[in-house]
């Protein structure tokens, strides 16, 4: 595709959207389950019991899809390297992240060239991966509470709620940056057709841009 760079394989994209849908469902049903004043949300789904069932199905799909997509050929490699790289936070990443608040509110300050995922994204990924892992583990503990030690269940509630609220906040930022932010929302295409504009890539992921260019030349 002209003027675009291939960024995400189909598997990764599907994985992202499965998670996105599940996340929203989990967020909405979870909120209805844990806050009595948000119980009306449950009516969208046909009541609180169905909401709970949806919450559990969505949770199951959410977690099972991780195993499936992380083990799948190309996207598996891609996802594994994404996860691995997310936790490799370099000086350059830090420099990017430092300027993130300015970027967030529409400003701009130069930052060193970034890899496939810039510092802000890595921060998002780190929080998401850690948070969702904790939510998943605590969620399963809650699901099977009757066969778990009581203290563990009690703390699972804290973790589940705490991380859910945190991740919800992160999600809002992610949504904003991915959809609403006039600059960074150019990345959105990467999650639809897999391509992002070259210019955008150059501006935001210079290291990666160069790397891809070299690779393309070689092939």
């Amino acid at each position: 595709m002209k003027g675009k760079l291939f960024r995400f394989t189909a598997g990764t994209r599907i994985f992202h959207w499965i998670h996105a849908v599940c996340f929203i469902l989990l967020g909405l049903t979870g909120a209805a389950l844990v806050y009595s004043w948000l119980q009306p949300i449950a009516n969208i789904f046909g009541g609180i019991q169905i909401s709970r069932d949806i919450h559990r199905w969505a949770a199951a799909i959410f977690t099972i899809s991780i195993f499936v997509f992380f083990l799948l050929g190309a996207s598996g490699r891609e996802l594994r390297s994404w996860a691995k790289s997310s936790f490799k936070f370099t000086k350059d990443d830090f420099a990017h992240a430092k300027n993130f608040p300015i970027e967030f509110f529409g400003g701009h300050k130069p930052f060193p060239p970034q890899g496939k995922f810039n510092g802000g994204e890595k921060l998002n990924s780190m929080l998401m991966i850690t948070g969702l892992l904790c939510i998943a583990i605590s969620g399963y503990i809650m699901w099977f509470a009757s066969s778990m030690p009581q203290w563990l269940v009690q703390w699972a509630y804290v973790a589940h709620s705490g991380f859910a609220l945190l991740i919800m906040a992160v999600f809002l930022a992610h949504f904003y940056l991915g959809v609403l932010h006039p600059d960074s929302n150019q990345a959105l295409g990467g999650m639809f057709n897999g391509y992002v504009p070259e210019k955008f890539a150059y501006e935001h992921y210079e290291k990666w841009y160069n790397q891809v260019k070299v690779e393309n030349k070689n092939t």
């Binding site: 003027g3 389950l33 844990v34 806050y35 009595s36 119980q39 609180i48 019991q49 709970r52 967030f104 509110f105 529409g106 400003g107 509470a145 009757s146 009581q150 203290w151 269940v153 009690q154 703390w155 509630y157 804290v158 709620s161 705490g162 859910a164 609220l165 945190l166 919800m168 906040a169 992160v170 809002l172 930022a173 949504f175 904003y176 609403l180 932010h181 006039p182 600059d183």
Partner: protein
């Protein structure tokens, strides 16, 4: 109605378990399939169909045998952890001091089970509602004693006004202590004071119940810290997003981006 109390005098309990049967008879609870667990005990815990049961504890020390009985049911705590944990506001307190579950509101999440220091409420998975002792609120509001108290032949269960029962418990403790120096009351100093007050002949641990039952720290953290902080986090994020949109708008970024896009499209169209 004034505050009520049930005084459980375990020194008189014979472990006949009529209380458990009378509870089932009054509340139309079905029998469950069991087997012996230890001693003559067959019921291990409260369930959606078993709201009260007796645990038996055999203690042999210095050639003296003791067979201790403990009646388990909802304690109807003043500071009810279940009520605090309930996300659906289905659990409430009555004037008489009882902790009840409103089944119209209960969503069967089981947070009450997990946060009760004794795991008393239990969710019936078939109807997704939590069940536990109601203190026979329908009986007491109508001038009858709770079913368990009314059936207790050895006189181990007493029902009455709270202060009257507390006095009785103190008197009995004074008597019983002469022979059982470790005798103590259980319930007055925990959970803000329970509605079922026990006279025990030994430490609560001997009866398999926690001496320091309290609202779990996790529950306090969860409800009093995590939820407000989480709310702040989400609120903050939401405000930031709105702020971001406004800022970008104010900075004209949307317009510029729009132009850029239009330009590039024009280019495309031109090619």
């Amino acid at each position: 109605m004034t505050e009520k109390m049930v005084f459980v005098d375990t020194s008189l309990c014979t472990g006949c378990r009529a209380c458990s049967v009378a509870c089932k008879a009054w509340n139309d609870l079905e029998a469950e399939k069991t087997q012996l667990i230890t001693s003559y005990q067959s019921q291990a815990a409260t369930t959606p169909h078993t709201w009260t049961y007796i645990s038996m504890h055999e203690k042999y020390e210095n050639g003296k045998m003791q067979w201790l009985m403990f009646k388990h049911q909802c304690y109807h705590c003043a500071d009810a952890a279940c009520m605090k944990a309930c996300p659906s506001k289905a659990i409430y307190k009555t004037e008489s001091g009882y902790t009840l579950i409103d089944h119209d509101k209960c969503i069967g999440c089981g947070y009450c089970t997990a946060n009760c220091p004794w795991s008393v409420p239990k969710v019936d998975e078939t109807v997704n509602k939590s069940f536990k002792c109601t203190g026979c609120i329908d009986r007491i509001e109508n001038g009858l004693k709770p079913a368990c108290v009314s059936t207790c032949q050895p006189g181990a269960l007493h029902f009455g006004d709270r202060d009257e029962m507390e006095q009785l418990a103190q008197n009995r403790l004074y008597e019983v202590k002469k022979e059982y120096p470790k005798a103590q009351l259980y319930g007055d100093a925990i959970m803000g004071g329970t509605t079922y007050l026990y006279l025990l002949l030994d430490r609560p641990e001997i009866y398999g119940v926690p001496s320091n039952a309290s609202i779990p720290l996790s529950l306090t953290l969860w409800k009093d810290l995590v939820h407000p902080l989480g709310g702040i986090a989400i609120g903050g994020a939401a405000i930031a997003v709105v702020g971001g949109v406004f800022a970008n708008f104010a900075l004209g970024n949307y317009r510029n981006r729009g132009k850029e896009v239009a330009e590039s499209q024009d280019k495309k169209g031109g090619q």
